[in-house]
Symmetry: C2
DNA sequence: GTCTATACGTGGATAGAC
DNA sequence: GTCTATCCACGTATAGAC
């Protein structure tokens, strides 16, 4: 039989990421111990340090990977501003719901990052927000949207859309498609001329 | 000279609240130690336990007091739905900015509360959200507002309005009065028929 | 009311056996 | 690659002197 050590390493690494994501999102970075994560994936605490140099790097890596996946998944900029806006809003709600755990972490654990790591994550977030801001500016310039301040509306809309993740339950009164439609309706009205 | 012990107690108690509010808001409940709070107000860690039975109760008390002050300060329900809505939105932005620290704690540290305390704080929050929802329902019934779902719009608007506290800086491009006006404009449009 | 001292658990991280 | 054992700092909370 061939060596399986490499395989085990990959498995444990991915299980470590999963468990850390879930536990950090649920209880918070500071409240979760490395021992707790290790117990969750069935290894001893010391073994975790084969897969991450330390706890802080583990947090930062999870956040960075999430932000990079988010940026890679943003829909392309084709069509009218209205079409682009709708695509962005529906994407935002769907993506953020599909990745609730990293979304919570990326929003709530910024303060747990050391300064350099914080700056890097913040830069990625600014790049994401710039996508929406660009759509708004293009729409305002074209006369399709009315908004007193593109930057402020960007921040307001992102806060509104992201808020869905804090209360949405799959077994609730409305499904995600309905919520998407209602939110899109609100966004459309905010920008209406 | 009269005894001064009672006075000292009151002073330390209020200094404890202030310091805990600030540190919990900045670093998170789990990341802040009782020793750190004590150092901040210039007493020994043991002395804190004269003013709070334990750390969890300290957190819960801060959150409960904040929510009760919020509920006590909600503007009264007089006038047209549109007037009531404007009053609520402006109040929300102003109050939440004035009390940024307890607001952060009330939103981010729900997961740090033990189940019974969590349930109590959640109940207070639901009472606050009900104020806005009632305004929306009254306005929809009167034909002043158009909204597909009063509950969802309530959650969306509160997320949007509360978001201001996460990025607003007094030395920024816009002052709070301008921001209030822009946000009120967005809210008005969301509800427009 | 506050201090000093301390009990006792648990945290992150590492060393060396297997 | 993982385990056991361990280091050492720090956590919450309490006891008893002043």
């Amino acid at each position: 039989m061939a060596r399986t050590q490499g395989s085990y390493s990959v498995i444990t690494s991915s299980r470590l990421r999963e468990a850390a994501l879930r536990l950090f999102a649920q209880h918070g970075y500071a409240a979760v111990s490395m021992r707790q994560i290790a117990r969750e994936i069935g290894v001893q605490a010391g073994a975790l340090y084969l897969h991450t140099p330390d706890k802080q790097t583990l947090l930062y890596t999870l956040m960075r990977e999430h932000m990079e996946e988010l940026l890679a998944a943003v829909p392309c900029d084709s069509g009218t501003p209205l079409e682009r806006l709708e695509r962005f809003c529906r994407f935002h709600i769907r993506f953020h719901h599909a990745r609730r755990a990293p979304v919570f972490i990326a929003y709530l654990e910024l303060r747990s990052l050391e300064p350099e790591n914080f700056a890097r994550i913040e830069a990625l977030r600014n790049r994401y927000e710039a996508h929406l801001e660009t759509i708004l500016r293009d729409g305002i310039e074209a006369g399709s949207f009315a908004a007193p301040d593109a930057k402020l509306v960007t921040l307001a809309l992102i806060a509104m859309l992201t808020g869905v993740t804090t209360w949405f339950r799959p077994d609730g009164r409305l499904d995600l498609a309905q919520i998407e439609a209602i939110y899109w309706d609100m966004v459309r009205k905010v920008l209406s001329v």
